[in-house]
Amino acid sequence: MKPGAILSLISFFSVLSILSIGGSNSVIPEMARHAVEVEHWLTAAQFTNIFAISQATPGPSNLIVALIGFKVAGFWGALVAQLAMMLPAASLMLLISRIWVASSGSPWHLALEHGLAPIAVGLIFASGWTIAEGASLSTIGYVIVAACTLLFWKSHINPIPIIVGAGMLGWMRLI
């Protein structure tokens, strides 16, 4: 174990945790700048590769942090970096969740819940749209998107086999 490296992982990622408003991907540029240019933990090409690896791995979007931690200090680096990225934000979320649940039934809670629901729906559509824009889909891709949308909307089919199948089609470069 490298105590100095472990400490710099903790100090950087625990601050980044609180800054990651809107999800971990919002701090990717800062993460890249610090890890590549300031600390020289890894090269720019390695950062691009581990970003792709973390995106394709099931689970929360902040797993890229474990990959950086692993490069810096092996298993303990991965564990410590991941915990530093999780704990501050999760503690804040725990506090706000308890206030939100405790206030349920109060007029302001209900007005917030009713008022923000359609905005949340609009933003869900926007996230689908934005991902589609960035994915440079082929015609077959669009057909599959439309079919999946209809299928998941109108049926209770389990999406996991379809996700696995689509991953395999992508792997064979058929989509």
Binding site: L63, L92, M93, I96, S104, P107, P118
Partner: protein
């Protein structure tokens, strides 16, 4: 903490192990982070732990506050039923297996310098993820179809995000107050059974 009686309670309160296993199931089927369509399917439709409106408000909280959206959502659901222990169980369920997978990939990449064909697999998976997101929009939004105010706010949020490229925080800061005031004026006394 006992939630007030008006919050719709599920038939059975999940046990800690069930929370952990459920969030493990959710995390293993979600790629690229952020997409919560699968979480909604499991939590709202299968388990019936949250109703549609509470899901949407929990999702908005999870997205606005710092941290990975999925992890924040696990904290919300876990703590809703079992306080700190529930949040811990849900988060451990969410993170443990993906963390082990990422360790194996880190080993493969940094020690053996193998780059798996991640980009290609991810591209295929993304196509389904877009379908999941759009279908979730349809499922959560279809009841607003004949509600002009809700349609207006939904459309404005979509346009502000997609065409004006405003951040989530900016969209909520601009549209949140008027939406809150309109809902406040209607003075809802109890939740719609949805």
């Amino acid at each position: 903490m006992t939630p007030p009686s008006c919050m719709t309670e599920p038939a059975t309160k999940p046990r800690l192990l069930e929370l952990a296993l459920t969030f493990n199931k959710i995390s293993l089927a979600s790629f690229g982070g952020g997409l919560s369509a699968w979480a909604r399917r499991v939590i709202v439709e299968e388990k019936k732990w949250l109703d549609n409106e509470e899901f949407l408000s929990a999702l908005t909280l999870s997205r606005v506050l710092p941290g990975a959206n999925q992890m924040n959502f696990a904290v919300y659901v876990g703590s809703r039923f079992h306080g700190f222990e529930g949040a811990l169980a849900a988060v451990l369920g969410l993170i443990t297996i993906p963390f082990l997978i990422i360790l194996a990939l880190a080993y493969a990449y940094f020690v053996h310098s193998t780059t798996p064909a991640m980009q290609d697999v991810l591209h295929g998976v993304t196509v389904v993820a877009i379908g999941l997101a759009l279908s979730m929009g349809l499922k959560t939004g279809e009841k607003f179809l004949f509600n002009p105010t809700a349609l207006l706010f939904g459309a404005l949020a979509f346009a502000a995000s997609v065409f004006l490229k405003l951040s989530l925080i900016a969209v909520l800061a601009i549209l949140g107050p008027p939406a809150f005031l309109v809902a406040w004026r209607h003075h809802p006394r109890k939740k719609d059974a949805s």
